[in-house]
Amino acid sequence: MAIKEFFTLFWRTVKDRKVAIIVYCLAVIAFLWMYVALFPAFRDQSATFNEMFKSYPQDFMKAFGVETVNFGSIESYLAMEQFGIIWPLMAGFLMISLAGIMLAGEIEKGTSEILLSRPVSRQQIFWSRYLVGIAVLIVFVFCSVMATIPFAKIYNVDYSLNNFWTMSMACFLFGWAIFSIAFMFSAMFSERSRVYMLTGGLLVLMYVIKIISALKESLENLKYFSFFYYYDANRALVENIIDGKVWVVFISVAVTCTLIGMLVFRKRDVAV
């Protein structure tokens, strides 16, 4: 694979997406700033909140990923507030839209002909775009997790650095799997909307599966088919653990979908 052409494609894609990526990262940092700034007030009232949550039905709390409520530490507070719903939503949206634009979007607009009429292979196009997605994910994860540290210092909040590194890895694995699924669809289809619809639909389905499996005991085993079971912010950020099955599932999905996507993209007709 010619390195020069590969980097030309890589940097050009980064350049084209940089404004959107910067805005997105700033938005997630702003969210984090808000949460950390509010944390001292939550911590002071944590006993009241804990009492309030105890009155909620356990299954209901479990269904929405809140198994233990503890606003006494920044880790457990962020696991619930930032990484429970907001982060997966933002990451999913970013990864799916990026994947959709980078292959299917180019085919839809017809600009793929500019690339394919040049001396670059389809693999180079595929991998250069894929690595841009991974690079964006790393930057996004870093901004959305590790930015806690300076804010924690500003607001005199105690934190455990190791737990945030573990959370970064959990977030990366989750984002990588979603991006790989969306990228596979992007390599298969010629319209962005189909990529958004299929990947978005799949994520919604997984979320519903997680809720149903928590609410109904007979359907408990369905949880293994949901990414939201494996993406466990409490376990990563509070307990500083990523279970083996989480690594296996997310890496297997990411690698399999990426390879399928590449094989399809090499063979398919690329024309509007």
Partner: protein, 290 residues
């Protein structure tokens, strides 16, 4: 030596036979016109040649290399113009040109092309007219001095002056040894610059002609208004059909050489004369209808 060799190329989309077993070859330095009405299969055949889409069956060789297996190698040698030039909206013309230069690693005639086509490279392509988009497409196809030019409707959206300039550029490239394969549905255009043509209809190659043979198949409609009354039997010649006649006006359908009828017309004093070349579709119906 054949630079482009296509053998029994087929491309089916489900039950639709977009290209159905076409074969042709193009020699070095030749300008080959690929003619056909809209939907005949021209663009599909070109996309197969460029490896954008995979043929159902058949063989395509360019510069003696397989167009699918050696696609990356060949694209260093091929300049390609799409039938509908699609550009990155947020880039300027300069960014497009620089991008191509970085990927192709050569830059010989970009500045000359920009000047000759009078193209403003600093505007965002989103704001470009269709003519200017076409100019940029032509610059991108030709800037690296390719050995083979594959042009899908090169004069589309250009004004007559620019069309003329593009014909010049194509002829100059051909004189330097570049092999040109261009599609068109404009008969007058291919007559001007091509040395040989292939005619495709419903996915099949219906004829391969030298341009001199094609010229004999030219058809025109001539509308003439005279100052005085005429004798319509004066215009009954071989290859001439009287479409409509009035005492001082006549409409004629002419096949082939115009000279005999012009001589006849010149015997009268003319008020108005309009010679309209037949469309490619009309010629198809006349000569290749079956």
């Amino acid at each position: 030596m054949s630079v482009i060799e296509v053998k029994n190329l087929k491309k089916y989309f489900g039950k639709t036979k977009a290209v159905d077993g076409i074969s042709f070859s193009v020699e070095k330095g030749e300008i080959f016109g690929f003619l056909g009405p809209n939907g005949a299969g021209k663009t599909t055949a070109i996309r197969c040649m460029m490896d954008f889409i995979k043929p159902t069956s058949g063989e395509i060789k360019i510069l003696d290399r397989d167009a699918q297996k050696d696609s990356v190698f060949l694209k260093e040698k091929i300049g390609y113009l799409s039938g509908t030039v699609r550009l990155y909206d947020k880039w300027t013309g300069k960014e497009h040109i620089d991008f191509i230069k970085e990927l192709n690693g050569k830059n010989n005639i970009a500045n000359d092309l920009i000047k000759r086509l009078d193209f403003d490279i600093n505007s965002k392509t989103k704001s470009l007219s269709s003519g200017n988009r076409q100019k940029l497409g032509i610059i991108m196809a030709m800037l690296c001095n390719p050995e083979v030019l594959i042009l899908d409707e090169p004069s589309m959206a250009l004004d007559p002056l620019m069309q003329h300039e593009v014909y010049h550029l194509i002829k100059e490239a051909s004189d330097k040894g570049t092999t040109v394969f261009m599609s068109s549905h404009n008969l007058a255009e291919v007559q001007k610059i091509c040395s040989r043509i292939g005619i495709i209809k419903n996915g099949k190659m219906v004829a391969m002609e030298d341009i001199s043979t094609l010229r004999q198949k030219s058809m025109y409609t001539i509308n003439i208004s005279f100052e005085n009354e005429i004798n319509s039997s004066d215009f009954k010649l071989d290859g001439i059909e009287i479409i409509k006649e009035m005492p001082k006006e006549i409409s004629l359908g002419v096949k082939g050489d115009l000279n005999p009828i012009i001589k006849k017309i010149s015997n009268y004093r003319i008020k108005d004369l309009d010679i309209e070349p037949a469309s490619l579709e009309e010629i198809f119906l006349e000569y290749y209808g079956n």
